[in-house]
């Protein structure tokens, strides 16, 4: 049988496992590591913007070395690497693998009553492709010229001709995209085919719906960036000029390429992925928040069907709004009007979903558990992030705001106190199913309050700076521009808040590790939840999850069913009293 005691056994069980739960945890650990890396990069950025051209602390300057910090001052070239890699790592190595790879892999098969994913070995391959991409991405910091430094958006001509690790970025993206595509195939096939008997489409937990739509977004949007990466790779390696125009002059010398290419072609291909990508960032978060809210209001989700239709419409529309990232590229007024219209329309399903979650609170018996705190905070934070997107979606108002800090504030509100808060909620919520112990509540509340305040101190001033016209991606924050002078002082509290935010993650990280051994022991269903994952043992059985075949008898959120003895009726039981 090959017990776990042998090296081979250990490898098969913990490293090269095909069990979706092990793979999910692998994704979780790896992605959290990358979130910390991405965070470290931006703390450096924030410090530089607060104290531009100041000397870095001695230990940091020697760590970075003479090239990255000549005379102990952060080099502009290195600042650009920090910017490009912060975005890339957070989006592609941090948030998506955590939201989709980790939570999706672990929870979806359980919530649909399946023994595993449809293609377990493909699942394992997906993780290792992600891991390989991550290694290449990190390694790129150490190549001559440093990491990619042309923004996470890698626009040509700059990205085409930039010295340094841009090619490594392309290779890493190639691997990451393969990982996502294989994962997407797996998720869709699993959700379609492996639902337990009785688990009809409209009995699926909303979380599963969000993962399904997310998978379709990844499946159909990522190939465009894959194609673009191949083309940019050819430009950089084979001397083609797919994205290089004629007449390009670099550093006083004419570029020796055939030319006649289109830099805008890259933008189209990138944003065809890029826009659905931001919905990939938010959809799993919406799914988690919905789960946590309904569980902690002891009420069914308000407007479940409406939310399901909305998430489908949202997914589809996300494919036809992409050029709102390109309003300043000189497109004709008709096509501009088209993209403005679709962008305005896409806010409707978003608002429906947010409103449904808010309405779900009304009349609920609210339990202010730690996951619920994060879920509740998500609502106004996501609302603010979404509302600030409206002027960006209209070309006229986008003109002064494009590429300013307003945009940075907009999307960070959605991703940081938005998605990441939802992911925190998910961690606190599902931790007892994975480990059998509760995370510490006091530490959780400290983590919550500190993170909420710090995130707002960091991101709210960005709107002020953006409205004043401060451009993004400036290594000195805009000290050379008179119009920026009035708002640059804000960089100082923002930097301090960034460091403080880092400090407030310490209780969380400590809690994660400490509670696994010392947390309060939990039974199989400590939150008294209705969805199927709580009907599995803790932890769910390796390679099979459920000891006996499970069936769905009810809607996903049968809380406070009239006449039932308890205020929740699990999906896995026919009687509302929770008896099989």
């Amino acid at each position: 049988m090959g017990g776990a005691a042998t090296i081979y056994g250990l490898l098969r069980k913990y490293i090269f496992s095909t069990d979706h739960k092990v793979i999910g945890l692998q994704y979780a650990v790896t992605s959290m590591f990358f979130l910390l890396v991405g965070f470290a990069l931006v703390v450096l950025i924030r410090w530089q913007l607060a104290y531009p051209s100041n000397e870095l602390p001695g230990w940091l300057a020697s760590l970075l070395g003479e090239e990255r910090a000549p005379s102990r001052v952060l080099a502009p070239e290195f600042y650009n690497q920090l910017g490009a890699m912060h975005g890339t790592i957070m989006v592609f190595l941090g948030v998506v693998p955590l939201a989709f790879g980790a939570f999706g892999n672990y929870i979806v098969p359980l919530q649909i009553g399946a023994p595993d994913m449809a293609f377990p070995r493909l699942n394992m391959a997906s993780y290792w492709a992600f891991f390989a991409g991550g290694v290449v991405m990190l390694a790129s910091f150490f190549v001559p010229g440093g990491a990619a430094s042309s923004g996470w958006t890698a626009y040509p001509p700059l990205a085409d001709i930039a010295l340094g690790g841009q090619t490594w970025w392309l290779v890493a993206m190639f691997l990451l995209i393969i990982s996502s595509l294989l994962g997407a195939v797996n998720f869709i096939a699993t959700i379609v085919q492996l639902r337990a008997p009785g688990m009809t489409w409209f009995r699926l937990p909303f979380f599963v719906w969000t993962q399904l739509v997310t998978a379709f977004l990844l499946l159909l949007a990522f190939p465009a960036l894959q194609a673009a990466a191949v083309l940019q790779g050819m430009d950089r390696i084979a001397g083609t000029s797919f994205f290089l125009p004629s007449g390009l002059v670099v550093s006083g010398r004419a570029a020796e390429v055939a030319g006649d290419g289109s830099a805008l072609l890259w933008q189209h291909l990138f944003w065809f992925l890029g826009h659905p990508e931001v919905y990939v960032l938010i959809l799993p978060a919406m799914g988690i928040v919905a789960e946590v809210i309904t569980n902690n209001t002891r009420k069914p989700l308000w407007g479940y069907r409406l939310m399901v239709y909305s998430i489908g419409v949202l997914g589809f529309l996300s494919f036809v709004v992409w050029a709102h990232h390109m309003f300043l590229t000189g497109m004709g007024t008709t096509i501009s009007a088209f993209f403005q219209t679709t962008t305005m329309i896409i806010s409707i399903p978003s608002v429906i979903i947010l409103s449904s979650m808010i309405l779900s609170l009304y009349g609920g018996s609210i339990r202010f558990t730690t996951p619920m705190l994060f879920a509740l905070a998500f609502l106004p934070m996501f609302g603010l992030g979404g509302l600030t997107g409206l002027p960006l979606g209209l070309a006229a108002t986008d003109i002064p705001l494009h590429d300013t800090y307003y945009v940075v504030g907009h999307f960070h509100y959605l991703v940081a106190p938005g998605t990441i808060f939802a992911l925190f909620a998910g961690v606190y919520y599902w931790y007892p199913k994975i480990t059998g112990r509760m995370m510490n509540d006091v530490l959780g509340r400290i983590h919550f309050v500190g993170s909420l305040i710090c995130m707002n101190v960091i991101f709210a001033p960005m709107f002020v700076q953006g409205l004043a016209g401060v451009n993004r991606r400036l290594w000195d924050g805009g000290t050379l521009y008179t119009h920026a002078q009035g708002t640059l002082y804000l960089n100082v509290p923002m930097a301090h808040a960034a460091l403080t935010l880092a400090l407030f993650q310490v209780p969380f990280l400590f809690n994660l590790v400490w509670s696994a051994r010392r947390g309060r022991v939990a039974d199989a269903n400590p939150w008294q939840a209705t969805t199927l994952e709580w009907a599995a043992p803790t932890p769910p059985l390796a390679h099979g999850n459920f000891p006996h075949p499970v069936r769905a008898y009810r809607d996903p959120y049968d809380y406070s069913v009239p006449g039932a003895t308890a205020d929740f009726s699990p999906q896995s039981t026919a009687s509302p009293d929770g008896v099989a």
């Binding site: 493909l122 949007a221 190939p223 465009a224």
Partner: protein, 201 residues
């Protein structure tokens, strides 16, 4: 518990309400992403060609007769591939091996012709960097060729060690060949568009 082999439902049997097996759904989803991949590249071709200051006369730069030969080779390989599956449906393992072998050989032939074509271009000083037409030609046919190689590796496995499954689980093996065939036909499909777009238009 170590890696016990638990059964994933609907790997071979069809799920009643969807009418699909997992691999059948899986391969079509994968091909959907491939459609988007090659679709992005064809879109790039269209944009670059329409916007180009000048574009070469494609059929005088490229070797139309060789490409026509390759088209016939690939179409033939598609037929042999589907006949390989049909042979398994008719319980004829020997016929299956013949047709699968022919499919593999056709792939080899395709790659040989492609190599000759590429060499011809390089010998005349025509490289991807020469202009965007050639850049796209090499990139898109090159990516296609990589997909051909991928398909050939899968087919070789099913001609070699993979055949063992015929004895233990013939239905599952037959389905695997059908799924591999769907992928192979897709590779043929892409060429059906690459051929006129690059050689004839």
């Amino acid at each position: 518990m170590s890696d016990t082999h638990m059964e994933i439902p609907y790997t071979t049997e069809v799920r009643p309400d969807t009418g699909l097996t997992n691999p059948k759904l899986g391969i079509w989803l994968f091909l959907a992403s491939e459609v988007m991949l090659f679709g992005s590249l064809f879109s790039s071709y269209a944009l670059l060609r329409i916007g180009a200051a000048s574009w070469p006369d494609q059929s005088s730069v490229l070797n139309v007769p060789l490409a026509t030969l390759n088209t016939v080779i690939l179409i033939s390989s598609s037929v042999t591939m589907v006949l390989a599956w049909a042979a398994l449906k008719g319980q004829r393992l020997d016929r299956y091996k013949l047709y699968m072998g022919l499919t593999f050989l056709a792939g080899v032939g395709f790659l040989i012709v492609k190599t000759i074509e590429y060499r011809e271009k390089f010998d005349h000083g025509l490289f991807p960097s020469t202009n965007n037409f050639l850049g796209l030609y090499f990139t898109m046919t090159g990516l296609h060729a990589i997909h051909v190689i991928g398909g050939m590796i899968v087919n070789a496995y099913f001609l070699g060690p993979g055949t063992k499954m015929w004895k233990t689980d013939p239905d599952r093996f037959t389905n695997r060949i059908e799924v591999a065939g769907i992928y192979w036909h897709f590779v043929d499909l892409v060429w059906i568009f690459l051929f006129p777009v690059f050689y004839l238009l």
